[in-house]
């Protein structure tokens, strides 16, 4: 169904320097090489100010690199003629659910991107219908955005992006301002879209638990890509994460404490479930 070897976003030797303020400020990104494959789920982690958001904005052509190049579906983000096409292929979800809904009703908001693509009315209505049934928003179509919960707002934002039929969705800490229920809601939606529709996801997150579900975890520090690998490799590497001032998942942290106390736990535990299972089997061998 989805050709996972196909590259959607390719960044080569990427550098970005914010202009303005101080002259000697270090670049937000430098020497980053990364590619996003079709249907891939990438979690992007790193300390504050490490360049995660900047990287997403470069992918979406909200910023253009000061050095290097970003290609989305083969189109360079320097190519201003095709900027609309890049934004269609590569949708973006922001942190604050309130500040990204434009229209006064849910359905008009989902339609916003499609209206920018100058699709005919009938097509817009068709797509809004499809997307809202995929995301379970049918009953909210006539609602005003301020009447929705945070999780619902984020789902509307996702619907707005999804209606544009992108190959990749970029998410900048989409759950940071949500309550636990809203967070689960959004994460399940994204996982579903990733596994069922083959949508590539680049997910910037501060929650290590959210990185667990990724195919690949990428770590940024001071604008450089310092590590990448499977969630087990990266989240299991507590010395790397602690060196950056980051935490791993509760399960990893607890497992490493238990190992220090002499318990013989296997490597590669990153979820609570895995930890529980190995602790239970530990008791049996004792």
């Amino acid at each position: 169904m989805v050709n996972r070897s196909e590259i959607i976003i390719e960044a080569k030797d990427l550098a970005y320097q914010y202009t303005g303020e101080e002259e000697a400020s270090s670049p937000a990104l430098s020497g980053v090489n990364i590619s996003v494959h079709r249907g891939e789920y990438i979690a992007l982690i790193g300390p504050n100010g490490s360049g995660k958001t900047t990287l997403l904005k470069l992918f979406n052509a909200l910023l253009v690199p000061t050095n290097g190049e970003v290609r989305v579906e083969g189109i360079s983000t320097f190519d201003e003629e095709n900027i609309l096409s890049i934004r269609r292929h590569c949708g973006m979800i922001f942190q604050n659910p309130d500040n990204q809904l434009v229209a006064t009703t849910v359905e008009e908001d989902i339609a916003f991107g499609l209206e920018n693509l100058t699709l005919p009315s009938a097509e817009i209505q068709k797509r809004v219908g499809q997307v809202s049934s995929v995301l379970g928003l049918q009953d909210l179509l006539q609602q005003a955005p301020h009447m929705l919960s945070g999780g619902e707002k984020q789902r509307v934002a996702i619907a707005g992006v999804l209606a544009m039929q992108p190959g990749c969705i970029l998410m900048d800490e989409p759950t940071a301002m949500l309550d636990p229920a809203g967070r689960n809601d959004v994460l399940q939606t994204v996982q579903h879209l990733n596994s069922e529709q083959g949508l590539a996801v680049v997910h910037v997150t501060h929650f290590p638990e959210e990185a667990v579900m990724a195919d690949r975890v990428v770590v940024l520090e001071d604008g450089r890509l310092v590590a990448q690998g499977s969630p087990k490799e990266i989240l299991g590497n507590t010395s790397l994460l602690h060196g950056l001032g980051l935490q791993s998942t509760a399960a990893v942290e607890l497992a490493s404490l238990l190992r220090q106390d002499g318990f013989d736990l296997p490597e590669g535990i990153i979820t609570n479930r895995e930890l529980v299972n190995s602790i239970c089997s530990l008791e049996q061998t004792d």
Binding site: N60, L62, I83, L84, R87, R88, G91, M92, F94, N96, D98, N99, Q100, L101, V102, A103, T104, T105, E107, E108, A111, F112, G113, L114, E115, N116, L117, T118, L119, P120, S121, I124, Q125, V128, A144, P145, H146, A157, G160, V161, M164
Partner: protein, 265 residues
């Protein structure tokens, strides 16, 4: 707070007036208002009032919404009564208090003015109560379109108005949150002179402005990310086409105006 603003208080419905194209409604309203101002006979005015009431009945919007909308003109009506009743001379003297007299011409004219005012507001409410603020915005935007030729970015102005409508409730919520935050730290918005109270609003307005600007920044980015480009052509999810019904209504209104003018009412 928001309850007292009748303008932009859409009452959902499926009536004839609800279904009309906002452009047709706006145009009809303008014609009716001009007609109302040119009328000078009681019969014609009462006929117009009857039309307004008939249409109100047809919309199925509860009448109290209209009454609420009429409340602001109460003072204007009172003022008109005083001016016309006491300071217009002519006709039979109805009442004499000292040197002040109330004469029949004044009473007649005063009531006429008030009736005209009421009819006027009722017709305006017919538009605003049956049209969503967004549809109204698009309708007004349509009539602004010719101004594009003198360099006015009309599409963008319509977008700005629509976004303002979207964010009014959000900013209201925010101002209430800020108010509570300030009150919890001992701020007092209720007592003192007007000057004092106005001054106490400063710690409310400053953070509200700061956050509104931050929101605007975020929103601009989000809009751009979704392919919005200033000056670019956009399509609409619901194309508002002028239906035969709209033409019929417009023709009826034009006929009404023509009849009134021809008969010199």
């Amino acid at each position: 707070m928001s309850r007292s603003i009748t303008l932009g208080q859409y009452y959902p419905g499926k009536s004839l007036i609800h279904r009309l194209n906002p452009r047709a409604k706006i145009l009809s309203l303008v014609m009716v208002l001009i007609l109302l101002f040119s009328l000078h006979t009681y019969e014609a005015l009462l006929a117009q009032l009857a039309v307004a009431l008939l249409l109100i009945w047809n919309t199925r919007v509860p009448f109290r919404y209209f009454l609420r909308g009429l409340r602001p003109i109460l003072y204007i009506a009172l003022f008109a009564i005083i001016i016309y009743f006491f300071f217009t001379s002519g006709g039979v003297v109805l009442l004499r208090i000292g040197f002040i007299t109330v004469e029949s011409h004044g009473v007649q004219q005063g009531i006429f003015i008030i009736l005209r005012l009421i009819t006027l507001v009722l017709f305006s409410l017919l538009l605003t109560l049956t049209t969503t603020p967004l549809a109204l915005t698009h309708g007004i935007g349509y009539f602004l379109k010719p101004l594009r030729y003198v360099g006015l970015p009309t599409e963008e102005i319509a977008m700005i108005m629509a976004i303002a409508l979207r964010f009014i409730p959000t900013l209201m919520e925010e101002s209430q949150r800020l108010m509570r935050a300030q009150v919890s730290r001992g701020a007092d918005f209720e007592t003192g002179s007007i000057f004092r109270r106005a001054k106490s609003l400063v710690p409310l307005i400053v953070p509200l402005f700061v956050s509104a600007f931050r929101r605007a920044d975020d929103l601009a980015l989000a809009m751009e990310a979704r392919g919005y480009q200033v000056g670019a052509v956009r399509t609409r999810m619901y194309e508002d086409t002028i239906m035969p019904l709209d033409w019929t209504v417009l023709l009826v209104v034009i006929a009404m105006v023509a009849v009134a003018w021809i008969l010199g009412l």
